[in-house]
Amino acid sequence: MKQETLIAGFGGQGILLMGRLLAEAAMNEGYHATWFPSYGPEMRGGTANCTVVFSDEEIGSPIAGHYDVVIAMNQPSLERFGPLVRAGGLLLINASMIPVAVDRADIDVLRIPTLEIAIQTGNERVSNVVMLGALLAARPAPTSDAYESAIESVMGEKKPELITANITALHAGRKAAERPCLTTVKGAP
């Protein structure tokens, strides 16, 4: 079992945190895990992405040329990384920011209106964790528990009050992804 995931978007969208939570959750579940970020020159804005690898074997490369999962939080990221999803892989699209469709028959594509869902949960800044919920729905590991304790330990370090909001967002995202009709509500071409 090995999964190579790439998460990409604007700086400020909480991209790196998503990766961190995924890696932490994988570790909580006993996997070897690595997280590696990269960003543009801007301190705010600009692009940001990170690669998360988890595996039951010692991890060699923390980066990859192709991915089992790509999460595109904005359009440039979709354009750049969408083609790099392996056949049989998963592409998660942030429908709130990306109007265009993707036609690859060899992979699963889920469009999640993360912003709208986040607003529904009462906190527009948790779109990123909404998206993680979708990943949770679409892939067997890590488990919900592993994500929750990841959220607890990562958020707990800084602002404990955020834990509930994020766990709510996680499950809202999961539910949305389980009802795929919902996932194309907006902006489908």
Partner: protein, 363 residues
Amino acid sequence: MPRPLRSSEKRLVKGNEALALGAIASGVECFFGYPITPQNEIPEILSDLMPKLGRVFLQAESEVASINMVYGAAAAGHRAMTSSSSPGISLMMEGVSYIAGSRLPCLIVNVMRGGPGLGNIAPSQSDYYQACKGGGHGDYHSIVLAPWNVQEMFEFPLLGFDLADRYRMPTIILADAVLGSMLEPAVVPDVFSPLMRMEKDWATTGRGTRSHKNIINSLLLDPVELCAHNELLQAVYREARREIMVDQRFCEDADYLLVAFGIAARVALSAIRLLRKEGIRIGLFRPITLYPFPTEQLVSAATHVRSVFDFELNSGQMLDDVRLAINGHCPVEFYGKMGGVLPGPEELAGEIKKRIRNEGDIL
């Protein structure tokens, strides 16, 4: 005391953080450095912890000042370190030559990035020559350690200081932007034991009750004296060969050997797994000490192989040392990317297969 850490239990740690905590655990007494990406977490963490532990943290005005502060602190007998990335390290070359010439132990961390010039902040290994062959003037060397995971980022400061003290020479930890920035589970200590200062009878601590004065100096105007001093240095470097460390995987039955260090060795390990799945018997030879280089170890690992592949994130710098070791015994092939491009395992595996095929040497 710094925030307590969960003991002997793995947690996700960033490479730079592990290095900073490893430095503290190694008993570093003082840190002097100047900000530069991608190693900023090292000074940032130390700026917090060192004063709390009663140790010295100082952001220097430049890398030139940093290395000369390290020189001063090391001269006075303290475990002293600095940390920077490629362009900043280049500014330290005169200072490193002085440190080596004066036989001072210290720790220098280079979290390498793409060059030359300002380059970029992506992972690279293009400072191998500088670190291993002597980027400064004169016939000197540093011990050069190449970690490949976050756990080694934590452990190598202690190892590095111990070696530096044993041989009275600088140690360089050669990491890169990936190792510095990546998170990985690692065991980091619970508590930091209090400092144990080593007695260094040569140090300029202030004379105290010592019967003679100590001088730290690399000036020997008489060529005969400077020659003798250099011969001493060379003898020390030969001595230090006993500290050579290598990591070998899948080498027992190998028809091919893949040589790589640091982060490149991890890509190599993944590539080897892919190749082995296709029945290609290839092993990994990972030098941990880049200087002294594991020449004899490589010779014996390569005795029965058909060819040796060298993979680096540069134009082929360690390649010199690999070829010098192999010395024409079998073909040596190189693959590398420069400027911060980190090829994936598939790419590397594909390249190796192509070369094997080209050689008509496919099994």
